[in-house]
Symmetry: C2
């Protein structure tokens, strides 16, 4: 049985991503977002939605660049803290003992402690209400070398202990329930 609920945003679980931005060390900042995702595979495109009052909103609007730093269980405290505090009041890299590292293409820094850093260039900013959606192209990806399978060259993403955000809580991933396409595979193959 279903009951009507107030219309709201209840799509979960989502990634909890640390967005790094800025074009020189003095203005580097980190914002945590869950309103992010992939919007196109080819070309690779993604988005982040950010409230205009957030400090990073001004930085990304000016530079047109940001990095999505994926998070894991070891980063859960920094992930939460960077979502709660403002870059107007703190140097978040210093406070959270995170290391800013040069990116390949963009001026925004990578967070070295993140297992995967996705460099993005904004192609459109779409004001929607409480949030502006920054629509971006993925221009480079940086993966933790120790998580790249030496045989296949594949990034072992699910060995990173990815962090999920679901309805107000952070979770580790649990039991593996199947791989894409498992429902149409013949048993034993």
């Amino acid at each position: 049985m279903k009951r009507a609920f107030k219309p709201g945003t209840m799509i979960y679980p989502l990634p909890a991503v640390m967005v790094s931005c800025g074009d020189e060390p003095a203005n580097y900042n980190i914002l945590t977002v869950a309103w992010t995702g992939t919007i196109c595979s080819d070309p690779p495109m993604c988005y982040v939605s950010i409230r205009p009052e957030r400090h990073s909103h001004g930085i990304i609007s000016r530079t047109g660049e940001f990095v999505l730093n994926l998070t894991n269980a070891a980063l859960v405290r920094a992930t939460d803290w960077c979502g709660v505090k403002s870059g107007r009041d703190y140097n978040k890299f210093r406070e959270m003992h995170l290391t800013a590292e040069a990116a390949q293409v963009v001026k925004a820094p990578l967070i070295a402690e993140s297992p995967l850093n996705i460099e993005c260039q904004v192609v459109e900013v779409k004001p929607l209400g409480s949030h502006d959606m920054f629509i971006a192209r993925v221009v480079a990806v940086n993966a933790e070398e120790s998580l790249i399978d030496k045989g296949t060259g594949q990034f072992q993403f699910n060995h990173t202990s990815p962090l999920a955000y679901s309805h107000g809580k952070y979770f580790a991933l649990g039991e593996k329930l199947g791989g894409f396409g498992f429902s149409v595979k013949k048993r034993g193959h």
Copy 2:
């Protein structure tokens, strides 16, 4: 140490959502997507990105409506199957023994077996390349009554065994690592 990777879409974990569409039983269909998320909190807005060659793309383009049906561990096989097979070849509700239920606002059906159904109306279709992004307003939400806390009236979303999709695999959520804001709460409070 980081290694450069080919630019690609590596934002995970994501929800694995069954999108239902159609405006009469003869054309009801279900498509599974992970390229979905929240883009604005107020007004509540979301998106799904769909390849133009998918059967549901034509239906949603014509009707301007869809429903996001969140999934859980019990729905993992149906979730995978509806992402692999085409509505041109199968009645997916019948094949997966899913129940189409009338929505509050849209003509597209709810999937009764899903714990939460989000009714959406398209406001813009944005062609991006391999995928078109359907930008939508959330116009109604339907929650499984047994998961609504009788005391607080809150939907116990994380009691639904939400399904996460991460780099080609479906996962249950695992250990809870903290609640939003935990990093700034005083211990014992």
